[in-house]
Amino acid sequence: MDQPATTVYLDHAATTPMLPEAIQAMAEHLGDVGNPSSLHAAGRSARRVVEESRERIAQALGSRPGEVVFTSGGTESDNLAVKGIFWARRTEDPRRVRILSSSVEHHAVLDALAWLETFAQARVELLPVDASGAVEVAALRAAVERDPASVALVSVMSANNEVGTLQPVAEVVAIAADHGIPVHTDAVQALGQVPVDFGTLGVDALTLTGHKVGGPFGVGALVLRREVAVTPLLHGGGQERDIRSGTLDTPAIAGLARAVELSVRHQAEHALRVGRLRDDLVRGVQEQVPDALLNGDPVRRLPGNAHLTFPGCQGDSLLMLLDARGIACSTGSACSAGVPQPSHVLVAMGRSDDSARSSLRFSLGRTSTAQDVAALVAAIGPVVERARLSGSRAAVGR
């Protein structure tokens, strides 16, 4: 018996299909020989692809080419930024032991911070968020001003990956800049959905990854201001200005560059189209399930994100029932065993564990259509009814 295939994909925030142009750019180089670090013609040819890709990404993001450091993706970029900048800053001045961040960061930041706390004597302060999930700027200001000289780094994401709320990164930068404190932002979800310009934003480090913007898996970048010192995590051949050793993946980098370029170029029209679909989705779902609650900021949010709480339902029951109908969505964050944990984001927003477990994220992308939204709206009523039944059933034989 075949299991039902996914026909309605509403999990673009987890990963989104590669752009045909990015597949083509990548495929063009898969057969090439040549290590970009080699000195011969084949090496130079590969190096040229890498450097042209770097320039294209820099152009798209408003940075200098030399500020683009290629990595294996978002997790590595976040780790490099958080650990590398912390170490470099503390080496410069041992008083700098504090890291300020938000309580709704991705685990690639949160767990890196927890590690620094345990193994590198960092003092991590996770700033509270409001009910919409936006970091409280006043709390950040107070935390910085309490003792600016002791802050090594501030890290606040551009947009939350679960509830889609945009973070006040410009205000964060303004506060930190007064004291010369570097700011890192994880822009993995924001890129291609909202304007992301490294120069305008004023951050010192920015994380991006390929597979969220129509590029390949396993490649990303940390855009890092040249003036910011960073201690490397990976040691070896000294690639990427000695910041990130490891043979460069020429085809993946070519695909990444094409995807970044196109997603930035088409960001405005994409946001408009996907934002309309998202609004239709939320309206349609709430018509079927009147007590479904939209989480996150209703306006200042990623255009492709709809995060909803369905009171009385378990999120993983909903996911399973939708999956059986070929509709793919997410319960938010999943641990390695595949066990849904109550979302740390919703808990930070003041929700109970139960409410956090009753939520689903639908995320739209380039390939999403009105038919996808219609299919979800048609399914959600019976699915919610069913999930409620399964949650409230009296125990058999008790």
């Binding site: 029951s317 059986a324 390695s336 065993a337 066990v339 069913r386 059933r393 058999v396 034989g397």
Partner: protein, 372 residues
Amino acid sequence: MRVLAALSGGVDSAVAAARAVDAGHQVTGIHLALARHPTSYRSGARGCCTLEDAHDARRAADVLGIPFYVWDLSERFHEDVVEDFLDEYAAGRTPHPCLRCNERIKFAAVLDRALGLGFDAVATGHYARLRTGRDGGVELHRAADGGKDQSYVLGVLTQPQLAHALFPLGDSLKSDVRREAAGRGLLVADKPDSHDLCFVSDGDTAGWLRERLTERPGDPVRHAGDIVDDATGEVLGHHRGSYGFTVGQRKGLGIERPTADGRPRFVLAIEPSSGTVRVGPREGLSVDRITAGRPRWSGEAPPGALSAGVQLRAHGAEHRAVVSVTGNDVEIRLLEPAQGVAPGQSAVIYAGTRVVGSATIESTRHARSVTG
């Protein structure tokens, strides 16, 4: 039917799910996450509860081409099985948590949710048979493979639970199941059988109990106590906690003085309130009267008295007995005495190969020692 197959990550549940697929059912696989802090890798021969087991379950589902999910039942499992196990030990009883798990988790929490989600049945890899009885009800019978028969740990299931259960392995021999797994390309074909308690990761049950029971404030069992000769009342030694003992235990009593006649001593009784552990000769273990409570009947409650077979522990022998039922009180009179029967164990009652029901042992005695 729409069938939910519980995949532990072991060979039995994988083949059970495969057979449910072959039977034409629409099968969805689930792995139950029962540990609150799962460890990454198996230690010893345990067969569930680690991330590696969840991985094995997922790979089995891939091979079968069925959807697969992990259900987090760790909180329910902790409350209904682990805490219950601790309470029972603290009270000086010897429970079997697998029965509790089947009663409260697999065929209650999981089954309830499955039925709510629109499934018709839960399939597991237990070795037991289901048949339709003359009254149209579902009967639970011993498995064809006597060595693997698990009807004992299913003896707590009632008719509504059995009506939604599937045990596709009941007619098979374990060796055939392994062969079939290999033939189907299931990578778990050679995985060792699970034994021990799944929530005691290193298999050291006494150490696990000591660690947890000593953390409980005010628990009488955290106190050390005396080891006393049951016949004379003489104190023979001391111990660190009565949870380290089970009725019938011979080894590890820590008594330095040998008996006068050189015969070994056994634990005869545990009194958790005083911490006293009573020891004596093997004959002191013999019991032929068992009082049990909390009965759970597979079908209708048996009327009055019945001549039956009674199994007192997993993979234990079946004893001939007369069982008298009065409401929730079950009196079991064994025709031949049995040894090492501890309060807290379950007595599962059989009529031939059919499970009649089960009850939890409350007290035991030997008719001769009472009358004589």
